[in-house]
């Protein structure tokens, strides 16, 4: 059982410590929101296993009553992805390092502003500002509120109307503190009408720091808002040290004729909780969510997706493929809601898993809730092992058993990886997979 009171008491102390260091900024608009979010968190319990969506994630392993806020840090070094030319945005211990943001991004026309600056724009015409206020004042999810209460100033990335960005944006997220700590990255991406952008989120360790493997939790929140006819490709790559956990939430809102494709690859970390919520607010949208993951040791990977089809003629696809080995566990809980107005919806959901050890565990639950009558929807799940005939074929050609197994594991995940954009990143992930043979 989770000791809610003990945790809230601890968080209260962390919050007061944070306030004491605000140094004159205590009255800022942002801090007002911090306080409101913390008050909301007090009355919102952290979920436990009785909560259907949290049955397979032991929250007590995620939220320790020992966490302090990870300190701000300017020194970082994240290994370059060979041949990847991208606009970099570093996020260290939850702090967006604005000085480290690629200057070329600005000259390409992208507007990057601190969250507090955007939130102070009171004009109702400013979509980002209006949207931020709505999001931050209506959430009732404990981990979201935790982020809103403790984040150290997020960033708003605005892709102007009709701009097609030539290179991907690479958001580099690291958690690096000598103490047991948590950090709360927060970013909003606003793709204006007709714009196109590829966003890479890299969760990796600080390759030069001795503290890079300290215990910690990254509680990240990402928001992507697609205006009319915008296109966003999103790839999240996670290879954290095995001492760190990640609670990740991506909320997507799509306007008419927009296209959103998301790919998630999880290899590292301890407990990984992924939530993707997609709101299809208007018609004729396209959404694709795909993931490939390999869980070993005692890792726990939990994927939760929710796609809300509210309007007609929207199409959504989900393909989640995972390998669960050793004592690891995995969960997939995919929900697709088709509302009464969402006629001509086309929704497809698939979760395939290889469970490679008798101590490994997978829980798969694809769900459709359909309230319209003229729709095309399907869902499915498979659980299996490596194919013995294929293993024999490879070994009969002189390939040793361990390599043969690795080839088949990589082949299983290749379906998702081959679909992902940005070739240098695909190659990087492939070579990382090779180390896991």
């Amino acid at each position: 059982m989770l000791e809610q009171e003990k945790i809230i008491e601890h968080l209260d102390a962390v919050f007061r410590d944070m306030e004491s260091r605000l140094n004159g900024r205590a009255g800022s608009h942002l801090h007002t929101l911090h306080k409101a979010s913390f008050e909301a968190l007090r009355s919102t319990h952290f979920p436990d296993r009785k909560h259907e969506d949290w049955r397979y994630t032991p929250v007590q392993r995620l939220i320790s009553p020992k966490y302090k806020l990870a300190e701000k840090k300017q020194q970082y070094n994240i290994a370059e992805i060979p041949e990847l030319d991208a606009f970099k945005i570093p996020v260290i211990n939850g702090h967006v390092i604005l000085d480290g943001v690629d200057a070329a991004l600005k000259s390409a026309g992208v507007i990057i502003r601190p969250l507090q600056e955007v939130m102070q724009i009171s004009s109702p015409e400013n979509i980002s500002s209006r949207w931020l206020h709505t999001v931050m004042t209506t959430s009732n999810q404990a981990f979201e509120l935790l982020n809103f209460a403790f984040h150290s100033g997020g960033v708003v990335i605005e892709i102007p109307k009709n701009l097609s960005l030539s290179k991907p944006i690479e958001i580099q997220i690291i958690h690096d503190d000598p103490d047991i700590s948590f950090s709360h990255p927060l970013y909003f991406i606003h793709a204006a009408e007709g714009s196109n952008v590829t966003v890479i989120e890299r969760f990796e360790k600080n390759s030069t720091s001795p503290d890079a493997t300290a215990n910690g939790l990254i509680n990240a929140l990402a928001f992507i808002h697609l205006e009319k006819n915008a296109g966003v490709k999103h790839i999240r790559w996670q290879d954290l040290p095995e001492t760190q956990s990640l609670v990740y939430k991506l909320a997507v809102a799509q306007s008419r004729d927009s296209r959103f494709e998301s790919f998630a690859f999880d290899f590292g970390g301890d407990m990984i909780r992924n939530n993707i919520d997609v709101e299809l607010d208007e018609s004729n949208t396209y959404t694709s969510l795909q993931a490939g993951y390999l869980a070993k040791r005692r890792q726990s990977f939990d994927h939760q997706t929710r796609i809300n089809h509210k309007m007609p003629h929207c199409e959504s696809h989900e393909l989640y493929k995972g390998i669960i080995d050793e004592q690891a566990s995995g969960a997939f809980n995919g929900k697709v809601f088709v509302h009464p107005d969402a006629q001509k919806t086309n929704a497809y959901q698939q979760n395939d898993t290889l469970v490679l050890s008798s101590n490994a565990l997978m829980n798969s639950k694809p769900q459709l809730e359909i309230y319209a009558d003229d729709v095309k929807c399907s869902h499915g799940a498979t659980i299996g092992q490596l194919d013995e005939k294929s293993l024999f074929y490879l070994k009969a050609r002189g390939i040793d058993p361990q390599t043969a197994r690795h080839i088949l594991k990589a082949a299983f995940l290749a379906e998702v990886l081959d679909n992902a954009p940005v070739e240098p990143l695909r190659n990087y992930i492939r070579s990382r997979m090779a180390l896991d043979a």
Partner: protein, 255 residues
């Protein structure tokens, strides 16, 4: 001369059902042996047991390969030691590119031989040279291993692998099944190009027609898990005309 492989009184079963019942076969270097026989006689079992397929149970008997106990060798070690099975039904593996697979098997063998791995360019050159010999389209390299290949393309891909690995003992398991006459000719030519005094073949087939292209030194007739007759290529021709019934009725024949 010491035989390349010597099978002595081999008894094999699957799920408790006996398949091979005291099979004896000796193959010397450079020889081509055809194994013929009706369906269910144990031809494919013999081929698969030699390659190391795990579903079979060895009840008794021995197999000596280059003087070593073959039955105690791991599957991959048998391949590295020079045994190649051309599969009757090559496995489709989506997600593994054919070219990467070929690179892996070539480098696995080179590593075993203590040779340096080939780089990408050397590899491509090496594979291309062999492709032409069996009239195989280079586009098949980019596709997933055997995935969606036609029957003929799969068998050609088997022969390509055999050509690349240069085995000491090649076992062809009904390589002719499902092939049209042109594909059969190309596959047979691929095999004939590899014939050498240093290389032996066991050609398992149901029909005589493959043996018009690959001329065997010996023809064995397998029935009920035993070799009942051994002869030269004329035995195959006799089987084509008279069928298998005459052998079943008589006892062991040496033609």
């Amino acid at each position: 001369m010491k035989p390349l492989i010597k099978i002595t009184d081999l008894h094999v079963s699957i799920d408790g059902k006996p398949i091979l019942n005291g099979l004896n076969l000796t193959v010397n270097k450079g020889e081509v042996h055809a194994i013929m026989g009706p369906n269910g006689s144990g031809k494919s079992t013999l081929a698969n047991v030699l390659a190391g397929r795990e579903e079979y149970t060895i009840e008794s008997g021995t197999v000596e390969y280059e003087g070593e106990d073959l039955l105690s060798m791991d599957i991959d070690k048998r391949a590295l030691a020079g045994i190649f099975l051309a599969f009757q039904y090559p496995v489709e593996i989506p997600g593994v590119s054919n070219s990467n697979f070929l690179k892996s098997i070539i480098n696995a063998k080179r590593k075993y031989q203590g040779l340096p791995e080939l780089n990408a360019l050397e590899m491509l050159k090496f594979i291309r040279a062999k492709l032409n010999a069996i009239e195989m389209d280079e586009s098949l390299l980019k596709r997933s291993l055997n995935d969606g290949f036609s029957g003929g393309e799969k068998k050609r891909n088997e022969i390509l692998q055999m050509t690349l690995l240069e085995p000491k003992l090649a076992i062809l398991d009904e390589t002719d099944s499902g092939l049209d006459i042109d594909a059969l000719r190309i596959v047979a030519e691929g095999v004939n190009q590899l014939r050498s005094p240093e290389r032996s073949f066991i050609v398992v087939t149901h029909y005589q027609r493959l043996l018009n292209h690959i001329i065997p030194d010996f023809v064995h007739v397998l029935s009920n898990g035993k070799i009942l007759a051994t002869g030269d290529r004329t035995l195959a021709e006799k089987l084509e005309v008279e069928g298998y019934d005459w052998i079943k009725e008589s006892n062991t024949v040496t033609a």
